[in-house]
């Protein structure tokens, strides 16, 4: 495009330039200014809401996490002991205190029920606990019990159990304590129960 055409084009454009028209009026300028400045305050409110919502969401998540953790760590519901057997006949002297497991409260001895000291444990301790008649609890797999401890399925919270000293001529005895501190002694007859 030669220069003359360019000059003519520029002249035509300037003839049609609307810039000579009056610009915005004072009212238009003030109205526009108000509109624009009012839009600036909204982000502040939004900025205020965002951290509040984020904090609320974090609190909800934390609460759910804590509740889930507590639910998982909470032990199984303790079934009430099916039977509490009281022993009438004199019992042998109680076994020496068994060192409790870290998560287990110590066994409390009842002063009125002396028990004989335990004899050396069986070479083959029973793999399952001796249950009173009528127990319907299924067999439970568990690690090999310690020699001085037998966990009863009917009372899973039993902190510790002293193995009843075996006396062939005398009936077998099992004693344990409930979490509440009640001491339970079971005396089992030597004859098999049918």
């Amino acid at each position: 495009m030669n220069e003359s055409i360019r000059q003519r084009l520029r002249a035509a454009l300037r003839r049609g330039d609307p810039a000579d028209e009056p610009g915005l009026t004072t009212e238009e300028v003030q109205g526009m200014r108000r509109t624009v400045l009012s839009a600036v305050e909204e982000p502040g409110r939004r900025r205020f809401l965002v951290p509040v919502l984020a904090t609320a969401a974090a609190a909800v998540v934390l609460t759910l996490t804590v509740a889930l953790a507590l639910w998982r760590s909470h032990p199984r519901q303790i079934a009430p002991p099916e039977r509490i057997v009281t022993v009438d006949k004199p019992l042998p002297t109680p076994s020496p205190p068994i060192p409790p497991s870290p998560s287990v409260p110590p066994v409390h001895r009842a002063p009125e029920a002396p028990v004989e000291p335990p004899k050396p444990p069986d070479p083959a301790p029973p793999s399952e606990p001796v249950r009173p008649r009528g127990s319907e609890r299924p067999r439970q797999k568990r690690p090999a019990p310690r020699a001085e401890e037998v966990r009863l399925a009917s009372a899973p919270n039993v902190p510790s159990v002293a193995e009843a000293p075996e006396e062939e001529p005398q009936p077998r005895q099992i004693q344990f304590s409930t979490p509440g501190g009640t001491r339970v002694l079971w005396t089992l007859a030597s004859e098999p129960i049918l």
Partner: protein, 173 residues
């Protein structure tokens, strides 16, 4: 950067920006689109964009101006795309003024010719031919290279010459 700690500084900063540039932006918007009301809407929307993103506007008068011009051109382009049919076809001749004058006729003709151009090309022509901004300045304002600006000017002049100088079509080179 317009940074408002509690919103107040951002408002003051934006007020200064508005006071400094609203006339210039309106003049440019008026040249880019053929309607005064549309030009006012474009200017308001441009400043609203700055208000919504105060951190996006850079510091410095020339940088602020470039950002605002670019935002205005982008808005123009958005409207142009939305009304593609209207921009591709020659606009309907408006109602004849009560007292037709050559200047008014020329204005309508020029606006119609400019309306056919793509917004960025239109902006390049308006900035360079009507406002006298050098090519480098146009490139900085539009955020493009000088080569791109020269290309836009070349194509725009060709198209405008066909519309405004029909008797010289054959002399274009």
């Amino acid at each position: 950067m317009i940074v408002g700690d509690a919103g107040r500084p951002a408002a003051e900063r934006l007020a200064g920006l508005f006071d400094s540039h609203h006339e210039r932006l309106f003049r440019l918007a008026r040249r880019l689109c053929g309607d005064r009301e549309e030009a006012r809407d474009l200017v308001q929307e441009t400043f609203l964009r700055a208000a919504r993103k105060p951190g996006a506007v850079p510091e410095g008068r020339s940088s602020e101006e470039a950002w605002l011009v670019r935002a205005l051109v982008n808005l123009c382009r958005d409207r142009f795309r939305r009304s593609e049919v209207r921009s591709r076809v020659a606009p309907e001749p408006g109602p004849e003024p009560a007292h037709p004058e050559a200047a008014a006729i020329a204005r309508v003709t020029v606006q119609a010719a400019l309306a056919r151009l793509a917004p960025r090309r239109r902006a390049a022509v308006v900035l360079h031919e009507l406002e006298g901004v050098p090519v480098s300045g146009v490139a900085r304002l539009l955020g493009v290279t000088e080569v791109t600006v020269r290309w836009h000017l070349l194509v725009a002049r060709r198209e405008l010459a066909q519309a405004l100088l029909p008797d010289r079509e054959g002399e274009t080179s």
